[in-house]
Each structure stands twice: as structure tokens, then as C-alpha cells.
Amino acid sequence: MIVKDVVCPFCGCLCDDIEVEVEENRVVAVANACELGTKKLMGEKRMKNPILRDGGTWKDITYDEAIQYTADMLLSAERPLLYGWSGTHGEAQCVGVHMAELVRGVIDNTSSVCHGPSILAIQEVGHPGCTLGVVKNRADLVIYWGANPIDAHPRHLSRYTRYAEGFFLENAFRDRKVIVVDVRRTETANIADEFVQIKPGGDYAVLSALRAIVRGKTEMIPRTVAGVTREQLVRVVDLCKGAKFGAVYFGLGLTMTGGKYKNIRNAIELVSELSRHTKFTISAMRGHYNVYGSNEVNTWMTGYPFGIDFSRGIAFYNPGETTAVDILARKECDAALIVGSDPAAHFPRRCLEHLADIPVVQLDPYPNATTAFCNVQIPVAVTGIDAVGTAYRMDGVPIRTRRVLSTGYPSDEEVLIRMYALMQGAKA
């Protein structure tokens, strides 16, 4: 059986044109997806049932037991951390926020280690963004800054920029210019019309210099800025000012380097400055397929996008203090529930040391690096494969993922709802 218009639950592009061939309740072929998406849709070997750490070994337990364990753990904690959320659907994220509020814990998602700085910058100066469709059909200049889509978002170039047709562009491939800015020559840099190579840590200075040049203050700029010649900076500004519609996409090369959110703020302010001359927009290359959704859900429910501390019964937000890496590094939580992410694969060692010291429950279909730190792991259905639910694309467009297989696994939402019900009962 061929299932059409499947949504790929891997990266923030959330491609919705995938075809999946299913035989005997197994995915046997995937069309249209990139390698990353194909791998995810083909699936890996899943964990069969919930497991509980029992000394040096694992013991099989039932879903009921695992859910009860988690509810008890969260209820007895003084500062539980509920972390992850970018690899699950919006409906499950909603339940997570309710749970965090009920047990007065801290809820944080993976944006605190990827595009959290982008959000901080947006909170300072706003977000002149647009959807991917607008860029595809109108942009005659695309800038990738500190992002390498060929590696991380393989179909971004073919669906929306370099290789995409554009409704308002006569010959999109010829008329659309691409600029790549990075500290090293990436694969994406090789397909650019202009490659700007910056010394590590120099993004902020280059952005400031570009803003000054857009304002006509070229003469005050030193001959080189962070390894970029003034001539090249002027050329980039001319390309920008000459464009009818420019779009900037930035990645972790800008958010996670020195100055962090100030880099993004500077990039947004450059875009505002350019918008005095032509039309310009800027957007983040969000990584996980539903990390944006987690920010959306948190924001509409609590007012804040990530790092929300309910200890005092009201929402308090202060990234750097109420975010998972900071809390773990400072040993400021005493239990953790991990949903839809693998912190042990990404977090600094200090954080993992604390994770090893406290009770940890993880909801994840597969054994992963975090499994080694868990007291209990509960396998769940994979959103977009055997569970349906809403995800938000990197440009904020909500897309409902489809189910291509039926397995017996409960979804994240189902498991969380049962935990929440138990906790509500205990509190009442």
C-alpha cells in the first residue's frame, strides 16, 4: 500500500509531500524524502515495553507501573524538570505544560540549546519573518548565515530557495542569488553566488559593519572586519539593496557562538535597516521537526516560549536560570522527566553528572544515550509514523502529521494524560 502526502517528522522543514510504501505493517520504501527523512521513516528497532532499572540490570514493567512510578516521582520532587518536547506533537506538549503547573516544576524544551537565543532576540526587537512559501515565490536573494542546509535541512534548498521555482520569478535559478556566510567553507557555501568567510566570533562585528554601510557610513569601517574585506562588505550590501525581496536564514553558527542572542538581534536590526530600502525578512532554521511547536504551545499556555519555572505557582521565565542546562549544571532539580529528546547526547558533562544522581524517566520509542541515565523508560508511538498530531514547521505553519502504521504503542499524549490524571487524583 502506498500512503501519499505523508509528513516527514524529522527536521523543521516538515516536508509534506512524502510517499511511503507499507507492506505487512512495515515501511518498505520512502519516496521524495531526503536521506535523513527516509532513515527516520524506515524506523529503527524499537523498545518493546517499559523498563525499570533494577540494580545493574533492567526489569520489564507494565505501562501502568511505569506511569505510576513517574507520577510518584514528580509529585514528591521539590523542583522537578520536564525537558525535551521538540520530538513530540503539540497535543502531548499541552499535557506537559499542565503537568508542570500541577507539580510546580520547570518545563523547558530543546530550544534552550539551539534557537533559544533567537527567541530572546525576537523578544527584544521583534521578528520580521514570513512563511517559506513567500520566500520560494518572491525572494530573489537568500542569505544563509551560520547555517548549512545541505547537511541539516537537505530539502530547504530544493523546495524553497536555490533550486525551487518561484511564481514571481521568471527564471528562478538564474534570478535568485544566494549568499552564504560562515566561519568555514561548507557544502552549502559551494553552491553560493557569494561566500563570506568570517573569523570565528566575528559575526557580531560583521553585522554591525553591514548596518553602518547600509546607512552610508562606509568610510568609518576598518579595511577588514573579522577577516572580511570592506570591499566584500560593500558588495554584499549592494546585493541586498539591489534585491527586490531578500530573505535571511540563520542557524546555530549564529545563535550558539559568542554573544549568542545579541548576534541574532544584530541580524534582525540589519534586516530592519535593509527594509528601509527594499523588502527583507529573517527566519531561524529550526532543527527538530516540532521544536517550534513546543515554543508555540508554551507561549499560548504560559506566556513564555521555554524555560518556564512554576515553583511558585505562577510562570517565571529567565533563560540562563530556568533552562535545563543551567538547572542541571547547578544541580537545581531533584527529578527529571524527558520527553522527545536525547539530552545525554548533547548536554555538557556536568549536566549529565547530575542527571545520574536524580531519578529520571524518559518517554522515547528507541533506546538512546539518555537511556543510560534513566530509572524508567517508556516506549511510545512515533509521531508521524504510528501516532498523529500537530507539528509546527520552522516558519510557524502548523501541519498535522499522518499515521502510516498501526502499532500497539500508546502515543506520548496518551501516556502523559494518564500520568496527569493520576497526579490530579493525588493532589485532590
Binding site: 521539590e78 562585528a205 553602518a212 569601517i221 536560570e321 531533584d334
Partner: protein, 256 residues
């Protein structure tokens, strides 16, 4: 009146304690106050041994002395303080002196992040180092500190005096990256080195008596000035932000 709060040794020593109730004014009506450890409300005397000597009928006559092991876990001490004195005989946790309008806080050890955040008046003296966001604003806020004085005798972390709009911040040691970012008023003085000072500044004055590393290319050099016996180079900026602030540095290096 002198209130001494000696921290008791606590079992769960890593969970922070939010203690915004520790403000001189509150002790005028007794010591029946609560603090929070994570999501648990605790009486003040469950966390501290409390001693009160003398009496007072205005905050100016109250001194609170905090001591013991683990004071670095205390957050929000002196929040909204409007008079009197708090002395910390050790380190203090995050958000000490937030929104303060008057009085004095003296910290004998180091201060954690957001010391004197959005402060409007009064004085904070930190004898040790201050972590990131000392005398800064809040996330997304336009104005940070608007008045008062913060003096740090050790070093300061990154984003020192971010968005400062008034008041004075003095750091005797080095400051980290982005000191005085988004500054639009007030005065920031760093006695030693820092990096990328006054990024995106609109107004105010920033002095660096050491070297400004990674100096931003969008500050316009005006000339040299004599300042308290030092020869400093005067810049105007941040031109990228149509800024008219003054940046004075003894020495600077571009990332070229």
C-alpha cells in the same frame, strides 16, 4: 535593629531558596516570614537561625546580616528593597537587589547572576566577583538599571550593565563580553579589560581603563581626552544603531 540570619545546614543542599522576603522593611513587623525551596514553602526559621537585637520603626534603622554555609543558594534577597542595610557574609545567589530603590546591600563574597537587575536606586557593594548580567535588564526589556550605584571590587561576567539607562556601575577588575550592551544612559566604568564594550549603544558613557578587546568597528574615533589622570581615546557610537553614546578606552583591538 540588627537581624542575624545564620543558615542552617540543609539536607537537600542543591535546590535554590527564593528569599524575596528578606528585605529590611519586612522585619519591622517581626520575623514571621516565609521563603521557598523549590515548590515548598518554609518558615524563615526552618532555613535560618534567626536572632534579633534592638528594635526599629523605620527600614533605615534595620540591618540584616546573612551568614552560614550555602548563602550562594539564596535567590532574590533584597528584592524591591527601599531602605536599610543587608550584609552578606559570604556569597549570594541570583537576583540579589532586583528592583531595589534605596538602602545598601554589601556582599563580602561573590554574587551570582543578575545582581541589581533593573535597580532604580540605592547602593550595592560586591567585594568579590559578580557573575553575568550584573546591573542588567530583564529578558526582552528595553530598560535595565535606571538609578543607584553598583560597585564590584572583583571581576564581572558577561552582559554587565546590559540596557543600562541610568545610574552608575563600577567594576574594579575585568568585565566579560558585551559590557554595556544596548546602553542608553547612565555610566559604566571598567577599571581593567573587557570585550566588545557598549555594543549597539544609544547613549550614556562607558569607560574602559584597560583594553577593549574585539572593539566593534562601528564606533567613530573623535580624539583623546584626559580623564581622572588617564589619557583615554574617545569614540562616539554605536553608529550601526544611530547611537550618540560616549565610549572612552585606554587601548583597543579590533578583530580584523
Amino acid at each position: 535593629m540588627r537581624v542575624t540570619l545564620a543558615m542552617r545546614p540543609a539536607a537537600r543542599s542543591f535546590i535554590p531558596i527564593e528569599a524575596e522576603a528578606i528585605v529590611p522593611k519586612n522585619f519591622l513587623s517581626g520575623t514571621d516570614l516565609s521563603v521557598w525551596r523549590g515548590n515548598r514553602e518554609l518558615r524563615l526559621d526552618e532555613v535560618f537561625s534567626v536572632f534579633v537585637e534592638g528594635s526599629a520603626d523605620r527600614p533605615e534603622d534595620v540591618e540584616v546580616v546573612i551568614s552560614g554555609d550555602g548563602t550562594s543558594r539564596l535567590k532574590r534577597v533584597g528584592e524591591y528593597m527601599d531602605g536599610g542595610k543587608i550584609t552578606v557574609l559570604g556569597d549570594i545567589g541570583m537576583h540579589c537587589g532586583n528592583f531595589m530603590t534605596g538602602g545598601t546591600i554589601e556582599i563580602h563574597g561573590n554574587a551570582d547572576g543578575w545582581l541589581g537587575r533593573e535597580m532604580a536606586g540605592g547602593t550595592i557593594l560586591c567585594r568579590g566577583d559578580a557573575a553575568d548580567y550584573c546591573a542588567s535588564g530583564y529578558r526582552g526589556g528595553r530598560k535595565g538599571m535606571t538609578g543607584g550605584t553598583v560597585e564590584v571590587f572583583g571581576r564581572a561576567g558577561d552582559f554587565l550593565a546590559e540596557s543600562i539607562a541610568g545610574g552608575t556601575v563600577i567594576v574594579h577588575g575585568d568585565a566579560g563580553d558585551m559590557a554595556g550592551a544596548e546602553m542608553h544612559g547612565g555610566t559604566l566604568v571598567v577599571h581593567a579589560d573587557c570585550s566588545r564594550p557598549a555594543a549597539n549603544m544609544k547613549g550614556g558613557s562607558c569607560y574602559v581603563y584597560g583594553t577593549a578587546h574585539g572593539m566593534l568597528p562601528t564606533f567613530k574615533r573623535i580624539g583623546t581626552v584626559q580623564h581622572e589622570g588617564r589619557m583615554l581615546i574617545h569614540f562616539i557610537g554605536d553608529i550601526a544603531n544611530r547611537g550618540k553614546g560616549n565610549l572612552f578606552v585606554k587601548d583597543y583591538r579590533y578583530l580584523d
